[in-house]
């Protein structure tokens, strides 16, 4: 079975299971007492954020590995991961405000975590733009690895600085839902959703990786 085929199978399985998560979250998980139905988006938003973070972490890790061993497989993986990460961060950045408006009363606040995720998205975009701007594959791999590593180091700094910024200026609205000890059934839904989103990440990245291989082969044929 080819890699692209495998990726499609994993993605398909992930999508079917995602439908299962919807059903479980909407029909078989109790309503949160204070937030009501709005809280349901949590089962998408948090796992999407997890996948986006995972994607960035692996972009950084593959970047380091690429610079050490100069194996193009790491570069291909980092590129695939960045593209998939962009998609997941978009899911995170759109579901977040939809929830925030009814609960916090505002679409957006400059809370540490929100700012961090916004910059995660900017980093992904910058990374992909840089890749698009460099034509030569070896150079592209090296340049994007340098940026990937810098991005990974930047994120804790952004989190820390925005966190300090906020704590020094308390806001009237409750910025973070106090980390609730989730009731069992909600926790199960969340964990299942985490697993499904991770599976989707694997499926997407596998397909994207296979696509990169195909493109490279095509490039060699034309050359």
């Amino acid at each position: 079975m080819s890699l692209a085929h495998k990726g499609r199978r994993i993605t398909l399985l992930g999508l079917v299971l995602l439908a299962g998560v919807y059903v479980r979250a909407l029909a078989f998980t109790p309503l949160e007492r204070f937030q009501g139905p709005a809280q349901k988006i949590f089962y998408l938003h948090v796992p999407a954020a997890w996948s986006a973070m995972l994607a960035m972490g692996l972009v950084g890790l593959c970047s380091i590995l690429y610079l050490i061993v100069k194996d193009l497989r790491f570069d291909r993986f980092a590129a695939a991961s960045a593209e998939v990460g962009t998609a997941f961060s978009l899911v995170m950045l759109t579901t977040g405000p939809i929830w925030a408006k009814p609960i916090w009363g505002t679409w957006w606040t400059w809370d540490a975590r929100l700012t961090l995720t916004l910059f995660l998205f900017f980093l992904f975009i910058g990374y992909l733009l840089l890749r698009g701007a460099v034509v030569e594959p070896g150079l592209r791999a090296r340049y994007s690895a340098v940026l990937g590593i810098c991005g990974l180091v930047l994120l804790p700094f952004i989190h820390l600085s925005v966190y300090l910024f906020r704590t020094l200026h308390p806001q009237p609205i409750v910025l973070k839902p106090s980390s609730p000890s989730l009731p069992g059934s909600m926790l199960v839904t969340l964990l299942v959703s985490f697993a499904v989103f991770t599976l989707l990440y694997v499926g997407f990245v596998t397909q994207r990786y296979a696509l990169a291989l195909q493109r490279e082969a095509q490039g060699r044929e034309h050359a």
Binding site: F119, L130, A133, A145, V153, I158, L160, L164, F165
Partner: protein
């Protein structure tokens, strides 16, 4: 180490010499920051917002933009006649090449800031006399952070299309932590708060500088080697 610094100084001296002979970039950057300062004056409602409330923002947005403008030229001038290749085959170590570029950029941006700060005081009548020393300190710390990442990235984008635009897009997220720190410290200094209140921000700025100067030194060879 002494060798490294001497080589770095040679590179920096070369860049600065070129700069002072033509002066185009320097004069443009100076005029640019003066213009941004005047734009800020008209970009606000003076009856609604007191100058002192807006002062840190004005100062730091101006300095951020001026620094980015300056960084674009760091490797641009090495593109002509394959000057960069010449530098790479010379017996310079990669580290001293990076540090030399960093140093030249620092001097360049510092010159722009040295003119920008008095202009800022003049235009907006901000009392900086009492806090001049810590203010210069925070400007130095933030500038080192800006320039450390900026020098690395200007080497990254140099051989790409739309280099100027790409540099801005890649660099701005990296300027956010030093910008936040610098604005916070400046606001406290101008507000007459005790220096100890800003200690945490100074530490953050210093940590950022140390972190990114080391990281960029480590990563720079990968951006220039063939």
């Amino acid at each position: 180490m002494a060798d490294l610094l001497r080589q770095a100084w040679t590179v920096a001296r070369k860049d600065l010499l070129l700069e002072f002979r033509t002066r185009t970039a320097l004069v443009s950057a100076l005029v640019f920051s003066a213009l941004v300062l005047t734009m800020f004056n008209f970009g606000r409602d003076p009856t609604a917002v007191a100058t002192i409330d807006l002062a840190p923002t004005i100062l730091w947005v101006t300095f951020t933009f001026a620094a980015m403008l300056a960084l674009n030229r760091a490797f641009q001038l090495e593109l002509e006649n394959q000057a960069l290749e010449g530098l790479l085959v010379s017996p310079l170590s990669r580290t001293s090449l990076y540090w030399g570029k960093l140093l030249a950029n620092l001097v360049f941006v510092a010159l722009v800031e040295a003119v920008g700060l008095p202009l800022f005081v003049l235009f907006f009548d901000v009392p900086v006399g009492r806090v001049l020393l810590p203010l210069v300190g925070v400007i130095a710390l933030a500038t080192i952070g800006f320039v450390a990442v900026g020098t690395l990235f200007s080497a990254l984008v140099i051989r790409t299309r739309f280099a100027e635009l790409l540099l801005v897009v890649l660099l701005l997220p990296f300027l956010v932590p030093p910008l936040i720190g610098a604005v916070q410290v400046t606001a406290r200094l101008l507000g007459g708060r005790p220096l100890s209140e800003a200690a945490g921000w100074f530490r953050l700025l210093a940590a950022y500088d140390i972190g990114f100067v080391s990281l960029a030194t480590l990563l720079f060879p990968f951006t220039v080697d063939e």
